[in-house]
Amino acid sequence: MATAPVPGPVPGSLRAWLLSPAPASRRQARFGRWFRAWLGFRRNPLAMSGLAIVALLVLMAVFAPLIADQQSATLQVLQDRLQPASWQHPFGTDELGRDIFARVVFGSRITLTIVVMVGVIVVPVGLAIGLPAGYFGGVVDTVLMRITDIFLAFPRLVLALAFAAALGPGIENAVIAIALTAWPPYARLARAETLTSRRAEFIQAAELQGASHLRIIATQIVPLCLPSVIIRLTLDMAGIILTAAGLGFLGLGAQPPAPEWGAMVSSGRQVLLDQWWVATIPGLAIFIVSLGFNLLGDGLRDASDARS
C-alpha cells in the first residue's frame, strides 16, 4: 500500500525492484517489506541519530585496534598519571597513567559484549516462558506467570548484586546476574502478545490444517511477538548498560585492569574535582550510548506503529 506517491522510482532500479507492488519471489517480497519499514524509519531524525550512535558503537568495538593502541589501554605509565587532554592523550590519562581514549575505545567492546549476551539470553528465556503461558493458558499459564511474578518481585540491582557477589565478580557473572533479573518483563510481553493473537482466525485456520502447537507458535505467533520484544529490548539496553556500569562501579562487574566504563567512573571519583575528565569521559560514553539505544528503540516503535 503506497502511502505517499514517491517521485517515480526509475524502472529497473533497485528501488523499483524493492517497491514493486507485485514481487516475483519470496526474497523480493521480504526485502521489499524491510525496505518499506526502513523508508518509514528514515523519516525520523531522532531515530536516525540513535541508529548512528549504535552503529558508531559497533564500529568502534569492531575496529578498536585500528582506532587506538590496545597496549596503552592497560599500560601504566606512572609519571604520566592524571594528565589533562593533549595530542598524545586526547582524553587525558587516569590515576595510573593509562590513556583514557584507548580505554574508552576498548571499553566499548566490553559494553557491547554485555549488551549482546544479555539480549541473547533474555529474549529466548522470555519467549520460552511467555509464549506457552499465553498459548496454552490454564494451569500452564498460572504456573509460568507466578514464577515470573516471583522474579519480578526482586529488586533488580540488588538481585544482580547478590548474584555477582555469590558467583564472584566478572563480566560473565554480571551478564548472568543482569539476565536473571531482566527476563520477566519479556515473558509478560510475549504472553500479552500471544493472548491477543491466540483467538485470531488465522490461528484457527492453522489448527484446522493440522499444524502442531509447536508449528503454530513458531510460525504464526513468534513473528507477531518478535517486533515488540525487539523494541522492548532496544529500550531496555540503556538500563542494561547502566546496570552493567553500576556493577562495574561497585567492583562486581569487569575486573581491573579491564577498561569497563562503569569501573572507570568508579576509579575517577576520588579525583573528580581536580581531574574531572577521569570520571566524566567514561560517564559521557555511558550516557551517549544509553541515549542512542533509547532513541533507536523509540524510532523502531514508531516505525512499527505506522505499519500496523
Binding site: 519470496r26 523480493q28 490444517q209
Partner: protein, 261 residues
C-alpha cells in the same frame, strides 16, 4: 458424508456450562450443499466449528465419511475437512505473504510439488501470479477471501465448511465469491456445509436449508420451497419476511414506532 446425530455442544463445563446447541441431527450426503440459517446466537456457527474440530461436543456423534470424529483429529482427518472463515481480514496472517500462507499446509501434510500446487490453486481461485508474493494488506477484501478459499482448497478436502464467507464483502464482490464457490463445488465434487444469516446467499449455493433458532434445528426445507414461501414453521416464515427487506408486517405487534420526518 457429514452426519450429526443428536449432537449437543456446550461452552464451559459443570454447572456454569452454557448449552449452545441441543440434539442437533443433520445428514449431508456426498456432493450436496446444505445451508444453515438463523439469527445471531442461534448456534449455527457452533455446529460448524464442531464439525471442523475446533471445539469439542458434549453429546451425540459427529461422523465424517463414515468415521466418528472428535476434537482431536489425525492429519488425514484434518485434510478431509477445511473451512473458510467469515472475516478475510482476520483469517490471514498479517505478516505472511500469500505464498507463505499457502506453503504451510503443503509443508504440514508433506505434499509433493508444492510450487506447482500453489500456482495451480491460485489460478483456480482467480488470482494471478502477481498476487502470490503480496502481503494481505496489499490485497482487497475479495482477493483475501480468494486466498482463504485457496488455502482451504490446496489440501484437496472433500468437505468445505463456509462460515458466512461473503458477509464481510460488498455486494458485487459477494456475487463473485459465490460464483467461485459454486464452480469449485462442481469441479471438485465438494460437500458443503454453509452458515449464513442471508437467505439469498444460502439459496444461491445450497439445495437444502436448515433453519436454526436458540440452539435447535427447527426444520429442514429446500431453497425452492423457501422461494415459493412453502414453509411450515412460523419462525421460518418470520425469517423470510425479515429477509424480504423492511416490512411493517415483520414487526409483529408494532412496538417499533418509526418516527418519520
Amino acid at each position: 458424508m457429514i452426519a450429526l446425530d443428536d449432537v449437543t455442544i456446550a461452552y464451559g463445563s459443570g454447572p456454569r456450562a452454557v448449552v449452545a446447541v441441543r440434539d442437533f441431527t443433520l445428514a449431508v450426503p456426498e456432493g450436496e450443499a446444505v445451508g444453515l440459517v438463523g439469527e445471531s446466537g442461534s448456534g449455527k456457527s457452533t455446529v460448524l466449528r464442531a464439525v471442523a474440530g475446533l471445539i469439542p461436543y458434549a453429546g451425540g456423534e459427529v461422523t465424517l465419511a463414515g468415521r466418528r470424529v472428535d476434537r482431536r483429529r489425525t492429519t488425514a482427518e484434518r485434510k478431509m475437512v477445511q473451512m473458510v472463515f467469515q472475516d478475510p481480514y482476520g483469517s490471514l496472517h498479517p505478516n505472511q505473504t500469500v505464498d507463505q500462507t499457502l506453503a504451510m499446509p503443503v509443508a504440514i501434510h508433506r505434499l509433493d510439488n508444492g510450487e506447482a500446487r500453489i500456482a495451480q490453486v491460485l489460478a483456480e481461485v482467480g488470482l494471478g501470479r502477481e498476487h502470490r508474493y503480496r502481503y494481505p494488506h496489499q490485497l482487497s477484501g475479495g482477493q483475501r477471501q480468494r486466498v482463504a478459499i485457496a488455502r482451504a482448497l490446496i489440501l484437496e478436502p472433500r468437505i468445505l465448511l463456509l462460515d458466512e464467507p461473503t458477509s464481510a464483502l460488498d455486494v458485487s464482490v459477494q456475487a463473485e465469491i459465490l460464483n467461485l464457490l459454486s464452480r469449485l463445488r462442481r469441479d471438485h465434487g465438494l460437500t458443503m456445509l454453509m452458515v449464513s444469516h442471508d437467505l439469498a446467499v444460502i439459496a444461491h449455493l445450497c439445495e437444502r436449508i436448515g433453519v436454526m433458532s436458540r440452539g435447535q434445528l427447527l426444520e429442514i426445507t429446500t431453497a425452492t420451497a423457501m422461494a415459493n414461501n412453502q414453509v411450515t414453521h412460523d419462525y421460518t416464515r418470520q425469517l423470510l419476511r425479515s429477509n424480504a427487506g423492511f416490512d411493517r408486517s415483520s414487526v409483529s405487534s408494532g412496538e417499533l414506532d418509526v418516527v418519520v420526518g
